[in-house]
């Protein structure tokens, strides 16, 4: 029998409300010293990625968020109890530090999308031009235009990201920002903010929307701090390992 692991938190003694987890198993609390982990039994070795399972995972983690800010595990974390206990004892200090950093805070998410994709202006390529300049020259000219357009979009994305950062900096405790993860997505950002500042955060975003109608904002939250839970990423950032 393995354990499906949902999240880690401090001081959860009993479940306030009985919750069903993956495969309909009851969610329970596994305690180790000061750390509590929400788990449920799983007969299989893995949890299939289905919409139902993903939403169940999210619902269990969210059920804790009303009372504490947990450190969520990524979907699909299946271990033996011995492996989990070993993980908790090995990483106790950093996990406690992480819990401290998210205490009283939640994650807010914002994705900014180009409302109108900046398109290249295709050069007219009639036969006479090709004959005049040569196919090779035309190809290089188009390639150059493509690169310039890409550089322009990158510069614009960087400007928007800076604007987002500066506008929200007073409210944001920590942030994870990805520039242009896809062609149309300019910026994807996760912000860690105090629970009491959610209203101000939304107001700021509303102002930003009004100031830049050429951009489309997709905002959501509050979330458990999924984007701020990863120990590996912190190690990478802290020690500059790439």
């Amino acid at each position: 029998m393995k354990l499906y692991v949902y999240c880690l938190a401090e001081g959860i003694d009993v479940r306030r409300e009985p919750t069903l987890g993956i495969s309909g198993a009851s969610v329970r609390v596994l305690k180790t010293e000061n750390l509590s982990v929400l788990v449920s039994d799983l007969e299989a070795d893995s949890a299939p990625v289905t919409r139902e399972n993903a939403l169940t995972h999210a619902a269990v983690v969210r059920s804790v968020l009303d009372y504490f800010t947990p450190l969520p595990f990524r979907f699909g974390t299946v271990v033996t109890e011995q492996q989990l206990q070993s993980y908790l004892s090995t990483h106790k200090a950093i996990l406690e530090s992480k819990l401290e950093s998210v205490r009283g805070r939640v994650e807010m998410s914002v994705k900014i999308i180009w409302e109108n994709t900046i398109e290249q202006q295709p050069q007219s390529q009639n036969k006479s031009q090709v004959d005049k300049q040569g196919a090779g020259t035309m190809f290089l000219a188009e390639k150059r235009q493509q690169i310039l357009g890409d550089e322009h979009r990158a510069a614009e994305a960087s400007k928007i990201s800076t604007w987002l950062h500066e506008t929200l900096s007073e409210l944001v405790g920590d942030e994870q920002v990805t520039l242009r993860p896809t062609e149309r997505l300019v910026v994807s950002a996760a912000h860690l903010i105090e629970r009491g500042k959610i209203g101000q955060y939304r107001e700021k975003l509303a102002e930003m929307r009004q100031n830049r109608p050429d951009l489309h904002f997709l905002s959501s939250g509050p979330w458990p701090p999924y984007s701020f839970a990863n120990i590996g990423l912190e190690f990478k950032t802290q020690f500059g390992v790439s």
């Binding site: 692991v5 880690l8 070795d45 893995s46 949890a47 299939p48 990625v49 289905t50 919409r51 993903a54 939403l55 995972h57 999210a58 983690v61 450190l71 969520p72 595990f73 990524r74 979907f75 699909g76 974390t77 299946v78 271990v79 492996q83 989990l84 993980y87 998410s109 994705k111 999308i113 409302e115 993860p181 896809t182 062609e183 149309r184 997505l185 996760a190 489309h216 997709l218 959501s220 979330w223 458990p224 999924y226 984007s227 839970a229 990863n230 120990i231 590996g232």
Partner: protein, 68 residues
């Protein structure tokens, strides 16, 4: 037309997409113990071009596991 589609997502699917994006792509990982199966995948957002990273991530994990 494209804007309309995005607005529709915002109303009906954004919450689900964001949930999937969070739980599949982020969170604590116990190294070497993450087990994901996409055999029974029925996520509804395959084919959308804004928030497909979750499926891509799941597929990448699967590919890595298969190549090991």
């Amino acid at each position: 037309m494209e804007t309309f589609v995005i607005e529709e997502w915002e109303e009906t699917e954004l919450s689900l997409l964001e949930t999937l994006d969070h739980v599949l792509n982020r969170g604590l990982v116990i190294a070497g113990e993450m087990t994901i199966s996409v055999a029974d995948i029925d996520l509804i957002f395959v084919g959308l071009n804004v928030l497909v990273s979750s499926v891509e991530t799941a597929n990448e994990v699967l590919r890595k596991r298969q190549s090991e």
